[in-house]
Symmetry: C2
């Protein structure tokens, strides 16, 4: 077994774990293939007073170690035995910086043990093979493997549209992932266009991502489409099938808007590498709008800078505000929300079709189309509808979660493809929730859970980069779905917004910089105790349900004792959030 080779020391006694906002716990530390386990009484699982703290090793973003000599002698070259005594009397400290932004400290007696534990954690947390990851081993007693994976079939969503209009059809042209590696097998396209046209249009779009239906606005029948950039290239190629497809998408309407998530200059420069953007001459009914949104490395750096600033306890108010500014995170939030509003306005107010794309069409494109749907469509603002939206517009639409979320804000590793595009989406949804406290059926807690599970999870939902990869890895056969856990009645209760009332209107957010605020619930979650805020939330929940006791989350430390088949990644989370 590969894992056993990576574990240099499996058990150390008298280890102390510290975590902000929690009294330190002392006990026996065990390293297993997928978890760090600290038992506060050796072998005392289930005994009174015993405590078990579990941490999914995949959650570890960075490991830092330091060794401190406990017995201090004058160094003496002639006295070798004293030198040896010093080594034995050392205390090692391992700082674990987690992908969910939590920071833990382990104090381990003995230098060798400390170094062994640290390198075991480093090795285990860096295993890159998807099929070696914990979701493939996680087998909770209460859940069946097949549950949840069929909760949000695309076919079902699109049947709702085809029931309303004959202008669209479900195409299985990508059944074998041969036309587009990052698209799901079924996509919705204009009924007037046959699969041969699609195949040719796909060859004219980067990665084969030809324009497909993203959202049908029932109120006025306008549509939002998404794709990747057209392969115009330096020789200004054109493709009749692509033009035909986009014309058909307008379905008789006079005009549409192409929202390009790059600047006009960047879109033009992309021609050098074979890409580009739709020239007016070939697409006369479409008007192009450029709204540059950051992604990739600059977005990852913004995230890292913000987290660094949030974690710095030494900042003055001036320094903090200037670091917050220079991280540019809130500017990215503003940019994403503004562009989503623009797309929504084109549909709702201009009654025009919209095509959104950047370059690959897998990052900022999905950010804009998904956000616009939350703004426009009350169905996407329910707990179930929002999960369906994530499934449709992020997971099946081919956002490369594996590449984007391998490392989080703390990693010193060489970052390749990491970028918190999905986190930026969650932050924008949180801003909507703050501005419209009654209009989202789900609470901030769902957004926090989603953030955690994109980076480290016992469920398979966010594994791999595309449906094609998930099929190859048999994710749906061999792992559990996050949705089946979240939709259990007990969990669902905790994710609901007690103030929710159905709001059939479009929710137009204020995108003025004055209105947008740091998401404290996420970025300061482990820094200052959110105990009192959680208490207030629980109180509101109680008022709504009419119950006397504080529900779920707030019922005490019970969940810390859970064995790993009862959602282990939550345990340290739960514990950490108590004051």
């Amino acid at each position: 077994m590969e894992f056993a080779e990576l574990i240099k020391t499996a058990t150390v006694e008298h280890v102390q774990l510290s975590c902000p906002g929690l009294p330190p716990v002392k006990g026996t530390l065990c390293v297993t293939s997928h978890h760090l386990l600290l038992s506060s009484q050796p072998g005392g699982h289930g005994e009174p007073g015993a405590e078990e703290l579990w941490l999914l090793i995949r959650n570890v973003d960075a490991v830092e170690k330091s060794v401190q000599n406990l017995g201090w002698y004058q160094p003496s070259r002639t006295n070798r035995s004293q030198q040896e005594t010093r080594v034995v009397n050392s205390l090692g400290t391992i700082t674990l910086k987690c992908k969910d932004l939590k920071v833990l400290q382990l104090e381990i007696p003995g230098m060798e043990e400390c170094l062994n534990i640290a390198s075991s954690i480093e090795a285990l947390s860096s295993v890159d093979s998807v099929m070696s990851m914990y979701p493939f081993f996680y087998r909770p007693r209460s859940m069946k493997l097949t549950d949840g994976w069929q909760l949000y079939p695309l076919q079902h969503y699109y049947q709702q549209i085809t029931a309303l209009t004959g202008a669209w059809r479900l195409s299985c042209v990508n059944q074998e992932f041969t036309i587009c590696a990052s698209y799901p097998p079924a996509v919705v396209v204009p009924a007037a266009v046959d699969d041969n046209v699609l195949k040719k249009a796909a060859r004219f779009r980067q990665g084969g991502r030809f324009p497909v239906l993203s959202y049908y606005h029932k109120k006025n029948g306008t549509v939002m489409l998404r794709s990747s950039q057209p392969l115009i290239g330096p020789n200004k190629k054109h493709c009749q099938e692509d033009q035909l497809l986009l014309s058909a998408c307008l379905a008789g309407r006079e005009r549409g808007f192409i929202i390009d998530t790059r600047s006009a200059q960047a879109a033009k420069q992309a021609r050098v590498m074979g890409g580009g953007t739709e020239p007016r001459s070939s697409y006369p009914c479409w008007r192009r709008l450029h709204r540059p949104l950051e992604r990739g490395r600059p977005l990852q750096e913004s995230f890292m800078k913000l987290v660094e600033a949030c974690n710095d306890p030494s900042l003055s108010m001036d320094r903090w505000l200037s670091k917050l500014e220079s991280s540019k995170w809130l500017a990215h939030v503003k940019g994403a929300l503004s562009t989503a509003c623009l797309a929504a306005q084109c549909m709702e107010r201009e009654e025009a079709g919209v095509l959104v794309h950047g370059a690959e069409g897998t990052d900022t494109t999905l950010l804009v189309t998904a956000l616009a749907q939350v703004i426009l469509d009350p169905d996407c603002r329910t707990l179930t509808g929002f999960q369906g939206l994530l499934e449709r517009e992020w997971i099946q639409a081919g956002h490369p979660f594996h590449s984007r979320c391998t490392r989080s804000a703390y990693s010193h590793a060489r970052l390749k493809q990491e970028a918190p595009v999905f986190l930026l989406f969650l932050d924008c949804v949180r801003q909507l929730g703050r501005q419209f406290p009654l209009s989202l059926q789900f609470s901030e807690r769902l957004l926090l859970v989603l953030f955690e599970h994109t980076y480290a999870s016992c469920y398979g939902t966010f594994l791999c980069n595309s449906e094609k990869e998930r099929c190859l890895c048999e994710v749906k056969e061999k792992t559990h779905s996050l949705w089946s856990w979240l939709n259990q009645p007990s969990e669902r209760q905790d994710l609901l917004n007690p103030l929710y009332t159905h709001n059939p209107l479009v929710i137009w957010p204020s995108v003025a910089p004055q209105s947008l605020q740091l998401w404290q619930g996420l970025f300061l979650r482990w820094i200052r105790s959110s105990h009192y805020l959680e208490e207030a939330w629980a109180e509101i929940q109680c008022l709504v349900t009419g119950c006397e006791e504080v529900p779920g989350e707030h019922a005490g430390h019970a969940q810390c004792h859970s064995p790993p088949d009862a959602a282990p990644p939550r345990t340290l989370t739960e514990t950490g959030s108590k004051g």
Copy 2:
């Protein structure tokens, strides 16, 4: 009558009033001695569809006017009649910037009328004589003049202390305001010290503000005192009575802390002007801590800069954050909260006595002592207890409300003594409320009401600079008390925090800059609609009271029709806050 002379034009028809977040209203504008009144149907008060909007003229901070020609002709020197036509056809716009930060626009047909109305408003809003102000004319039917003024007698509060310990007594040494012009007639001092000592100690303190008891910490019997600076002067004077008084305050405890709200350097420099700070040699049991807090002009400028930044719709995220930073407002919030925490820690953790003073002892001193009490004492966190705290530590303690709150953030007038020290206190309390959502019995709404009434009110509570002045003006005989209005059951209901549960503990706030946020409810109140947030609040209130209908505030526009004896300053406020 003085007012009639100031009103150049009393009535203009066809005036349009615009206010952000409210559809424009057209009607007849009347200027009365104290109010601007816009009736949407002339003389139609009470008729269906009629609307009356009232604005207390005292609330106007700045008047800006512009005139626009409606009929535009080619200028021609030979044609005089056309020139005249142009003047008649002009439309004047008056922008009223209010002290509660609201901005209104009046469109007035006719240049002369516009200029007359503008200068009438300017003159009426600048009347400086206290006894000409509206509280002396306001006579609501439902209230008796004497109500409310006896709600929070100092004597009653101090009797609670003298019941617990014999170490303190109530002194009437200042009965005739002869010892200290800014102190109330009764103060609490050590029982061991007689009035002759107080008289001599008073002469050694600026403005006669000798050390008096501010707060008695029941839990461990420690005390907080406040005073002004000692009059050390360039010749290093000392005063045995002052030393005796401060020794007696320690009541056998080994040490106390003097928290000076100026820097060590500023305190030393104050000697040139006759002031200074307590030298260690004369006060051996007291340890001095310097925590410089801004006040006066720099604080007023910070407030003005912040409001300007909040009102600027053209800012990018970067520019906004950098303007927020350069306003330094949040740094002042952090400074005030940190210093209050320090005072609270000295008492709660070090079990030591505390004396707080800056220079005059009427601004940052009160900010610190009042905030420390909210942090330490659960009684100060109830609706009644908080009103009592304001009465004791701000109004009776001689914060010069009249001088500090004559002009607000918009005024172009030459500012003299203005400074938003009390607003800074309210902002700090709001931060406490946000961090401890269950621990304050009152809601944000109370803080907003208090902010409004310090700058413009129909009640006498915040008039004048001291008890002495209030006695001279017979404020308690001739005006109504704000407390008697706020404590009416219908009003009280709206001011309560539905989530409140008694919390006997000290509430230690996080003063990390990351934890402190702009008070959007105040600073963005008129800029973006708070409709949805109010709705959420009303929903929580409903849940608690178990009622079906939305209470008070949210029952519609009813209150806009009220005649001025039903709390007129609220009317435009109410209207403005609807989306």
